[in-house]
């Protein structure tokens, strides 16, 4: 066999292995059909609640820190869509905590597939697809509600911002889970950053105090999930004084976040392996 055909064989075998993992999981899940339906409805319901909250808040006051309802609705929709997609992609990484504690991670590491990919594929949740689809639909509604003047650049941003946001959220998911490699019980603290991050990004960051902004919006990059993209889409000035086109930098921030998370993961796995488990 030639070299290239060998490489191709190996690649095809790998893809087949991943596909079988996912397929087996989906089969197993579909057997609990009633439970699956409830799960799906529940997941979508959480997304609905985020939107309902914005409605109710604006029932009480016509503006939120100077932003109108369509503007905040757009931010919430961007945040929810990004979070739902991230949850779909890497939501299972929070199980790392359990795997490390019970030693199951060793079984994962023995296999000739990437540990992170296995973890993520190991418990495919079709319900998360429902929430992601709902997120995308709500984003469309929010964009129409805000009556965006869509130039080609803005249209690209409307599609790209949730993806970039999902990458940022995914990076935070993976990074907070990685702490389990060093400190097993620290996983619980990560919820404040992941779920808290979602709540943070759903509203204009100008409502938060300086310290909170510095940590979440800039330190973790959450401002680039919904706030700056929304400002760019709405062609609205930033009360904090940042340039209007900052929203277009989201993919860049997402790349940086992904790189940092990948580095943390590699270091974590190496540390776990080297401690003689």
């Amino acid at each position: 066999m030639t070299r290239t055909s060998q490489v191709r064989e190996r690649l095809l075998a790998r893809i087949a292995a991943y596909r079988e993992l996912v397929r087996a999981q989906v089969r197993g899940q579909a057997q609990y059909r009633m439970s699956f339906a409830v799960d799906l409805a529940g997941s979508v319901a959480f997304g609905v609640l985020d939107i309902v909250t914005v409605f109710v808040l604006f029932r009480v006051s016509p503006s939120l820190a100077g932003f109108s309802f369509p503007e905040v609705f757009l931010m919430t929709a961007l945040a929810s869509c990004a979070f739902a997609v991230a949850d779909l992609l890497v939501g299972n990484v929070e199980r790392l905590r359990v795997y490390v504690r019970t030693g199951l991670l060793d079984a994962v590491l023995v296999r000739p597939l990437g540990a992170l990919t296995q973890l993520v594929a190991m418990d495919v949740a079709p319900r998360r697809v429902g929430r992601a689809v709902f997120g995308a639909a709500i984003l469309m509604v929010a964009a129409m509600q805000a009556q965006l003047a869509l130039t080609p650049a803005r249209a690209a941003l409307l599609v790209g911002a949730p993806i970039a946001g999902a990458v940022i959220f995914s990076a935070v998911f993976v990074a907070t889970a990685t702490v389990s490699f060093w400190w097993i019980e620290a996983g619980e603290f990560g919820n404040a950053l992941t779920y808290g991050g979602h709540d943070f990004t759903a509203y204009p960051i100008s409502i938060y105090g300086a310290l909170l902004r510095r940590l979440f919006a800039y330190g973790l990059g959450f401002a680039f999930v919904a706030y700056y993209p929304a400002l760019a889409l709405l062609d609205r000035a930033d009360p904090l004084g940042a340039p209007a086109a900052l929203g277009y930098a989201s993919p860049l921030i997402a790349a940086v976040a992904a790189g940092a998370a990948a580095l943390m993961w590699r270091t974590g796995i190496r540390h776990y392996r080297s401690t003689g488990s």
């Binding site: 109710v56 808040l57 006051s61 943070f200 909170l212």
Partner: protein
Amino acid sequence: MAAGGSSPSRGDLRLLGAYVALAVAGFRRYATYRQAMLAAIFTNTVFGFLRAAVMFAVVGAGAAAGYDEPRLATFVWAGQGLIGVVLLWAPTELADRIRTGDVIADLLRPVDLVWQQLAADLGRAALAVLTRFIGPMAVGALAFTLHAPRRPATYALFACSMLLATAVCFGCRFLVNAAAYWLLDARGPQVAWTLASGVLGGLYFPLWFLPRAAALAIVLATPFPSVIQLPLDILVERGSTSAQVALLAVQAGWAIAMLGLCRWVQRLGERKLVLQGG
């Protein structure tokens, strides 16, 4: 047991002693979960800052739906603390025991399962007041101007309210777990409970932000506001003393209803266990 006589018999006193012992056991058990407690306090604190920011942005400098800024601050921070006291998130320990059959050991004891679990839960709640409530409240008090109770009666009313809220929440959590008698998977009831307790309990927004009729209907017709919303309304003194007492009465009604429902469901569940040959 000897009939007649209004004085408690020896058996009754011993039974009460058993429940007190169970409560103390619950207290001591949760005292060992130090890491989980710290993580929970940390998470509640972060959410306290986030929610307070949103609430202030909505209210601005004035007031909304009967809440001014200090009241909203107290609402948010005491709410985060209260989550730990009532234990809003339902652990599925009992459901797992039902599924594996280990619950038989609990049923063989001479104490009723519902009161047994309630006693342990009250012990846990007592510890939570000292840890998961005080923690976020302290941070909130340092970082914000909270509404200090103006009427001395509020303290006593709030203490009673917390007790009733814990009982109502316990009842709901027990029912979520008791679904395991009939369902393979308690996930459905758990998801439904998390959703309902969150939105209808007043965690996403104070219920009074909704149209008055809707809010009133939810408060009276569902147990969820009795868990978080009503204790907080009592604490921030939203309304007169008679309003506070009225809210307490609603909570008491729901506590009795939920506990009664628990005992009924438990009896049905026991019968199902027996039918299955357990």
